[in-house]
Symmetry: C2
Subunit: 138 residues, 2 copies
């Protein structure tokens, strides 16, 4: 009912389930271990793009390879805010702000934007951008 509540009449019919779908995807990220993070993440396809701390990756293989190579053994997360919008092309734009705790490192903020698109009745992640919240106040 997200579309209706938000007054997004034009896309309400096709994007009714925006919030449900996006919530599910958000909570698939950042589970307590790396394997779950990868397997639980929305399915990537060969045209999917990931920008990870400014580095570009395209395609399922490259993205999985990058995520598999992240240097940590444990990761815990909490979500501070999440916003979801239907797009004109019936995709879903999500922005997530939260905090991560990786192994024994201090807690860090992060932000992530992703687009979900329905292809052949499955929601895939076509675009994903991730940044740790490191501000240079210098």
């Amino acid at each position: 009912k997200f579309g209706e509540r938000a007054g997004l009449k034009q896309t309400a019919t096709t994007c009714n389930r925006v919030a449900d779908i996006a919530h599910t995807s958000v909570h698939c990220y950042g589970r307590p271990n790396q394997t779950a993070w990868l397997s639980g993440a929305p399915r990537n396809i060969d045209t999917s793009c990931l920008t990870w701390e400014g580095q570009q990756f395209q395609g399922k293989r490259a993205i999985v390879e990058k995520l598999s190579s992240l240097p940590f053994t444990k990761i815990a997360h909490s979500i501070t805010a999440q916003d979801h919008q239907p797009t004109p092309d019936c995709c879903i734009l999500s922005m997530v702000v939260g905090q991560l705790k990786v192994d024994d490192d201090p807690i860090m903020g992060f932000h992530q934007s992703f687009i979900l698109k329905n292809i052949n009745d499955a929601w895939v992640c076509t675009n994903d951008t991730f940044r740790l919240a490191i501000h240079n106040f210098g």
Copy 2:
């Protein structure tokens, strides 16, 4: 040349100018006064969505009304990081992380995600999500 550099062959032709276009839009936000922020921002259309600190607005009029009502007289910004990607529907997804100084308030972090779409040879902003970087560590 963003698409090519990023190895985004499928969309390279149509999205060659991704970075240029997105950079221009980014720098139109947050100029030193509110009027420039509004007039310089990418053009909104009647289906455009803005989520501002969790509040939903749709349509040019509602968005301009919201932005006009923001309670400050001066705003300065600096951009810490910006990431841009072409989407499968030949839009541009941008995520911007930066800092704001509003009137005499302390500096605050912010993050913003937006989608630009080319309609009738003009780039319009169809989706925009803005959050101040306020983490509750409690």
